[in-house]
Subunit: 494 residues, 2 copies
């Protein structure tokens, strides 16, 4: 419905049946008309009374609209000459905006983004991450999480939350939670730390970013396990570090090769308890070697202890951090893999003299971690639910691992070679030489399988392709069915 | 209690009364003895049977310890020669670790950290952030948050959480939440966007970091409002940008000065609705000017709409983003200031052609945002609780603002000059010329007051000091009491 005021003005289109209130429609009309140049700077506008009469409106919406137009500087009132379009609105203004507010069209030519973003964009799409299909890596058994206990703890905390739990928090995290983490790490992982050294982060990815920012300058070389964890590649590449691939074997990262290739590297990223993805445990000899190197060259070691809770053949291996007498190790862990990923709660243990630096840099990143889950997790640990859940999952994952190994041997025994099945929530299945693992993973993803290609973990070209098969979140039926479907995705040996 | 085995071996100290299990004590003892060199590579160790007998233990803990020592490579067994300390453990090993696991001492000389971390550390301590005292900036009225409704929504979602809500999520956020945000922003802020353009972040600080990383390269110049938001200074400094201070006046950032000082800047950071901290609303003329500049020079505008919900003198001002027809604006907002800070939920609205880049870079930062609050907030918005809460808070904050203004005029009228009290959750009280605002803030902090010095917001030297006084989380009684205590912290004019 259109209403037309006097000839002085372009027609004003208002529609009382629309959801947008009339004052807002009027405001939009004026703003658009001024910005588009339909109304010129200095042009007189009718009085609110006259406009209301002409538009057959009550004066209230007109007053509201004008008040707003004044506040935003579109209109000005000069004593003696009434209300007019502001002189200071440039008359070569941009195109009008419409009340329909469509999304502006995208320019044809690509626009300039940072080198960093261009690099992140250049990564090929990972189809296998699009679903929660069988063998999704790092996914725990969500349906076995003690959700009732968890809900009860949440309810307990949120029925009467503390002021401190709702306000701005410490970049390091809530102290009771950090105490519980320090105690757990000391007992279960032989990590030596004081709660003051524990920082709560939103996951190990953030932990890696913080390490990169605090410990290194752009351009610094850092030893990376080859193959290694792609998330760490991303974090350190983003921070501008120079990634030096050092091969891993059955004893973990080959320190001697590291010394030969890049003795003066500023740091090393390690998964000593359970090498990602191949599964080796770093031996005592190598541990001592790398600690000595770090201490001699004043380099930093980043120990990512991402899933060491699940060890089947022997007891969990103690952390490298616990062996370190020179505080060269920053230790990372996460609750996402042992409880559920959407938690976004992890932790880092930093040397005492670096606590202030980590805290300051964390503050620039995202200030602090959400506090609710910290309080809930504290009680979850203190009341023994965490230890109980870990025990139950250890048994469950061991069973699933056995089922997966059996299914592979039975159905794909001649094709896949199993590596690294002693621990964790995944194993690696090596493909026959010459088979492109990304192609297999893509085909498998089309069949609903979430298997990550091993070559994703390499900085250089891998000798042999493979698939990383997670079994934490994949039950017996899905394992059987998944392996059947996987078989269809692997080209037959020629 | 010490038990001593045969002469072959150093004494093994085990204590059955300790909480640490015996196998672990034994393992620790061996590891420490090997690492410290007390036991040499190749040295024979007693059989488990012999050791158990000597230590008067059952064989089980000894077997467990040895199994673990083998697994970690400290011991090896050669056919015919029994078990020995591994040959490959270097004998110039580091110092022993003790079972007491004390925290290693910090080196005397400071160790090398990154330039970035050193910069972040060099910021002076902000005593006024140590408490939640009166006038804490950005703190909402926590005790007025509808906690019962919130708890009910949390309980509803967590009694039967979706698998998708617990697993890995989209770096952009949960779609229903992004739809609710897009709708809210369209209606309340005149932001023009499709849900596909909305990314859920952990707060505006993370949003700023992402903008810096995606849109700019290190060294790029960016216009900053002077004075401006310290969190933005931190984020952009961390990203290596060159911050160009552009003065603000009562019409917002002075675009002409910007053009004169740094026409080819790659971007501008703005708070157009309610300039932080001085409170100006950017006028229509300036808005059009800066959009034209951005469009001409292909620069990016980062619009931080941090508290535009609370406007008292007129209706909320529409976002700059809604005027932009060239998709040069990235728009940021947060729920932390309107609901509660510990939420850690904010959002950014990015131009359609940049969605993939923002998503890729977000993934390298922390993968994705925790999902629980996203689901809860979606219903909080959809069921109208959000709009109701905003209305109630607008009234409350208007009342508190009045009380604060009155208290200042009454008790400190000759000393403080009030600026920017039309909107938001804070005002600025200018100190008499020559008074050091950091000194005043430090003294006030000692008196339990959380007032931020205005000079914190300047990149250059400010003309005049002042205090940023938040009133969102400060009630009538605290305001009265706070101003009395503040008075004691301000030197009397000489």
């Amino acid at each position: 419905m259109k209403r037309v005021p006097d000839s002085f003005f372009p027609p004003i289109a208002l529609d009382p049946s629309k959801k947008t209130p009339l004052y807002r429609q009027l405001f939009d009309w004026f703003r658009d008309a001024i910005v588009s140049g339909q109304l010129r700077p200095g042009q007189r506008v009718p009085s609110t009374r006259a406009l209301a009469a002409e538009l057959k409106l009550s004066r209230l919406p007109v007053l509201s609209a004008f008040e707003q137009l004044h506040a935003e500087g579109y209109l000005q009132t000069l004593v003696g000459s009434g209300t007019m379009v502001s002189q200071s609105v440039p008359d070569d203004a941009s195109k009008p905006t419409t009340s329909a507010r469509p999304v502006p069209a995208v320019r044809k030519s690509p626009r300039k983004i940072s080198r960093l973003a261009a690099g992140a964009l250049s990564a090929p799409p990972q189809l296998w991450l699009n679903s929660l299909g069988p063998f999704r890596s790092s996914l725990p058994a969500l349906d076995h999480f003690p959700i009732r206990i968890w809900s009860k703890l949440i309810a307990r905390h949120f029925s009467r939350p503390l002021r401190e739990l709702m306000a701005y928090g410490d970049p390091m995290g809530c102290l009771p939670f950090r105490e519980a983490i320090a105690e757990y790490l000391g007992a279960a992982r032989a990590v030596r730390c004081d709660p003051s050294q524990v920082m709560v982060v939103t996951g190990s990815q953030q932990g890696l970013q913080l390490c990169a920012k605090v410990l290194f300058n752009p351009g610094d070389p850092i030893w990376m396990e080859e193959p290694g964890y792609p998330g760490a590649h991303q974090a350190f590449t983003t921070a501008g570090l120079r990634l030096v691939p050092i091969p891993v074997d059955r004893e973990g990262l080959n320190v001697k090769t590291g010394l030969r290739r890049s003795r003066l590297a500023k740091g090393a990223y390690l998964t000593p308890s359970h090498q990602y993805p191949l599964g080796a445990t770093m031996t005592a000899a190598r541990r001592v070697e790398i600690l000595q190197w770090a201490s001699r060259t004043r380099s930093w070691i980043i120990e990512d202890d991402y899933d060491s809770e699940f060890r089947f053949e022997s007891r969990p291996i103690g952390a490298l951090q616990g062996l370190d007498t020179n505080s060269t190790v920053v230790y990372l862990g996460t609750f996402s893999k042992v409880l559920f990923p959407a938690l976004r709660v992890g932790y880092i243990v930093v040397p005492t003299d670096l606590v202030a630096a980590f805290s300051a840099v964390r503050e620039t990143a995202d200030i602090f971690s959400s506090t609710l889950y910290q309080a809930v997790l504290t009680e979850f640990i203190r009341e023994g639910h965490f230890a109980r859940h870990l025990r139950r999952m250890r048994t469950l994952y061991m069973k699933r691992r056995g089922e997966l190994v059996d299914a592979i041997r039975l159905q794909l025994g001649g094709t896949l070679e199993i590596v690294g099945e002693e621990a964790g929530m995944h194993l690696v299945a090596l493909l026959p030489p010459g088979v492109d693992d990304r192609e297999v993973a893509r085909l498998a993803a089309q069949n609903g399988i979430s298997a990550m290609p091993l070559s994703m973990c390499y900085l250089k070209k891998p000798a042999r392709g493979g698939l990383i098969l997670g079994y934490g979140g994949t039950d017996a039926k899905e394992i059987q069915d998944g392996i059947r479907r996987l078989k269809l995705s692997i080209p037959r040996p020629t």
